[in-house]
Structure formats: structure tokens, C-alpha cells
Point group: none
Chain length 212, copies 2
DNA sequence: GCAAATTAATGATTTATTCAAG
DNA sequence: CTTGAATAAATCATTAATTTGC
């Protein structure tokens, strides 16, 4: 276990067992005198120094936390802060959507909230802290989301294996009147009337774009 | 039960009963010798091999866990099938949103997927089965979702406690136009244009509408 | 009733993860 | 840091159960 000229401490099984037992029983960050006690106790099972005990507790605490975090984060697919979850949600809401750069990303799809510089401008209210990726829904077939400094556009790539788009509402009901959500100025209103009166196309595959 | 030239093991009812009893009594992952014992015991009820026993415990344990997880996940807020979760998600994505009839609903906000008759039209693909509420995003401030046979409209009720809306992307932009949800006839369009031409007030609570 | 067609259940395999040992 | 065993998760594949249209 412990080579003669070894440069680092090799704890004996007994030492490890005792340390773990102490940790479990509540000693997470022993103070100087505790460390001294522990060291002298453990020295009857093998060579050991106070600094070894100190480091052991440091490392053990950190690694336990790490394990816990990893375990939790795997169970939390469905947490809004989880980028994979967001991707999943998007794909549910818009079944034939694709995160266009998702699978090309070197890292898993990044969680993107507000940019650092913007965050620093004391606009740190609760909403921001939630760190939910910004997103803009464009229409029923496309949306955008912050991706690094850029916007990632997601578009309906057309009929997929799951065939028809889920908008049977649009196809089976008589056209509804458009509700005005907000009062418009006369000028913008006129523009709208003239520009958006074309009927909705059936299901043309759209183009994928990543904005600069 | 077990065809002559069958390629896979078909346990007899007695074998299954005994295996389940063993599982309930605490045997979850039998070791090699336990598997041997069990196998020789069960062989008096029908043809069986050790690997069958091994696989049975593997699968049974996994599927019991699966059942349990599914049960749990239905109680979880962050599951896409949970209507409360959807409300929550919406409120994150659009912080000052309100499900306008949410708190008035006799039942918790209903989960609404495709209607039965539509589902039966052999469009029974995986996507439909997910039973995700239909929703239509209108713009960055409003959206609609199926609510029973009707559509529930959600609108931005203006600046909330969290002060500024998270759309700093949009705030640096010129005022948004109202989007046309559905194609309009010329007549209804004109009516809308003339009736709603006042400028948008600063932070007036908006009106809630449920379409017929 | 029955037989083809679907759907669900579950046996068997493969793949991924974890964790300890060197 | 790598390796290998253990085992959990995901998946494939076959059989049982059921629905459906005569």
C-alpha cells in the first residue's frame, strides 16, 4: 500500500474506514485541534501527518458534493434551467423542430441567459437570475433562442416521421377573427392590414438560419 | 405456453408466481449460486435455464423501478405532462403572463391533447400520444392554448414585481406589431382596423378573452 | 365467432454508468 | 487516468392480448 520512498500519503484501509466513519458522523471540516487528535489516533494504523488529515477532509467533502450534484442533475432533466430539458420541451411543443446546432455543438447545448455584461448592469432582478434562455416565438413553426451572443433560429423542418403538424385547430375550424391584443396606432395598423393578409401556407419546409 | 420450437423461454404460471414471491420477499439481484438454486427448484414446474432466471430478475427489477418512477414523475412539477408545470414554464418564459382562467377553473388547468376522434384517424404516431397541449404563440407577449374545446388566451399583464420584462432584445427595438393569427376576410379585417386605433397605453391591465 | 391487424407485455441483448483497484 | 467487473438503462424482438371488420 505505502511504498517506502513514496512522496504521498497512502492511507491504510483502517485509516480510510475511520475517516469515513468520522465524516459520516458529522465531522466535515475539523479544526486544528480536531485534526491533531485524529492524526494521533490514526497514526497507530500507519504513517500519517496532520496535513494528510486536513487534505482528506477537504477532498472528501468536495467529492461527496460533486457526486451529489451529478446525481441530482441527472434526475433533473425536467428542470427549466436544464438546457437539455428546454430542447426536449421545444421538441414537444413543436414536434418537428430541430435545434439546428444542437448536435453540432462541441458542448451540450449551452444554457444561455443574459450576457455577463448586461447582467452586470444591476438589472439583476429575480427574472434574470432564473437564467432561462431568452426566446422569441415567431409563429407556430419557428422560434429563436439566445445562443451565446447569437440567436439560434429553430424552424419547422416540415413533415417528419410524426407526419402532420399538431395544428389541427388551424385546419378543422372556420377561420376566427383576429383579436387585437393591444391597441394599435393608425399607422402601424394600416401596415399590418396590408402586409399580413396572405393565407397561411400548408407545410413548406423552412430554412435554417443562425443569425450573426 | 411454451411452443415446441420456441426461441425464448415462456415461464409457466407457477414459475412466475414463485419468482414474484421471491422478489417480494427481498431477492432483487440473486448471485450465481442463488440463481442455480432457483433454477433447479423451478425446473420441476417446466423447462428453465439459469439465464432465464437471471434475466427475469434484471427485467423485473428494472420494470418495477420504471413503474415507480412513472408514478413519481406524475407528481412532479417539472414534468411536461403536468399542466401545472406548463403553467409554470409559461410564466418563466413570459414572466408577467397569467393563465387568465387558471384559478377560476373548477379543475386544475386541464391537460389537453388531441381530441379522440382525431386521434383515431390512424395518425396515432408517437407525437400525438405525448398529449401535449396545443398552443399557439402569438408574439412575445401573448399566446393561446387549447382549453377544453376552447382556446385560452394568455396575455402580458404588464410590468410585474420583477420590474422590467426580460426582453431586452426587444426593448431596444421599435414597438412590436400585432401579428395576425389567422387569415382574415377583407370585411372583418377592416372592422378590426377601425375599432382599435388608439395608441397603446403604458401599463394597463389587458383584457382576457376566451374564444367561442 | 374468427382471423387479420394492432397494441401491450416481457424475454433477451446491447449500451452506458458506476465504482473500485491498480 | 485507465481498466474491468457489476449492474442499471435502453433497446430489440417475440409472444400474448386486444381490437376490428367481416
Amino acid at each position: 500500500m505505502s511504498p517506502a520512498g513514496s512522496t504521498r500519503w497512502c492511507p491504510t484501509p483502517e485509516q480510510v474506514m475511520i475517516l469515513e466513519e468520522m465524516y459520516r458522523s458529522g465531522i466535515k471540516t475539523p479544526n486544528a485541534s480536531q485534526i491533531q487528535q485524529i492524526t494521533s489516533h490514526l497514526s497507530s494504523y500507519g504513517k500519517i501527518e496532520a496535513k494528510n488529515v486536513f487534505y482528506w477532509f477537504q477532498n472528501h467533502k468536495a467529492r461527496e458534493r460533486q457526486k451529489l450534484r451529478r446525481k441530482l442533475s441527472k434526475q433533473q432533466l425536467y428542470h427549466p434551467n436544464n438546457p437539455r430539458f428546454l430542447h426536449y420541451f421545444d421538441s414537444l411543443a413543436f414536434p418537428s423542430f430541430q435545434h439546428l446546432s444542437y448536435y453540432n455543438s462541441p458542448t451540450p447545448f449551452p444554457r444561455v441567459g443574459v450576457r455577463e455584461d448586461a447582467a452586470k448592469q444591476q438589472v439583476m432582478n429575480y427574472t434574470w437570475k432564473l437564467d432561462v434562455p431568452e426566446r422569441a416565438d415567431i409563429d407556430d413553426k419557428s422560434m429563436m433562442r439566445m445562443h451565446g451572443g447569437d440567436w439560434l433560429m429553430m424552424v419547422d423542418v416540415g413533415p417528419s416521421l410524426s407526419s402532420s403538424s399538431p395544428c389541427y385547430y388551424f385546419t378543422t375550424r372556420p377561420p376566427l377573427k383576429t383579436l387585437e391584443l393591444f391597441p394599435l396606432t393608425a399607422s402601424t395598423l394600416k401596415k399590418e392590414c396590408s402586409s399580413n393578409s396572405s393565407p397561411r401556407p400548408l407545410s413548406p419546409p423552412k430554412v435554417a438560419l443562425t443569425l450573426p
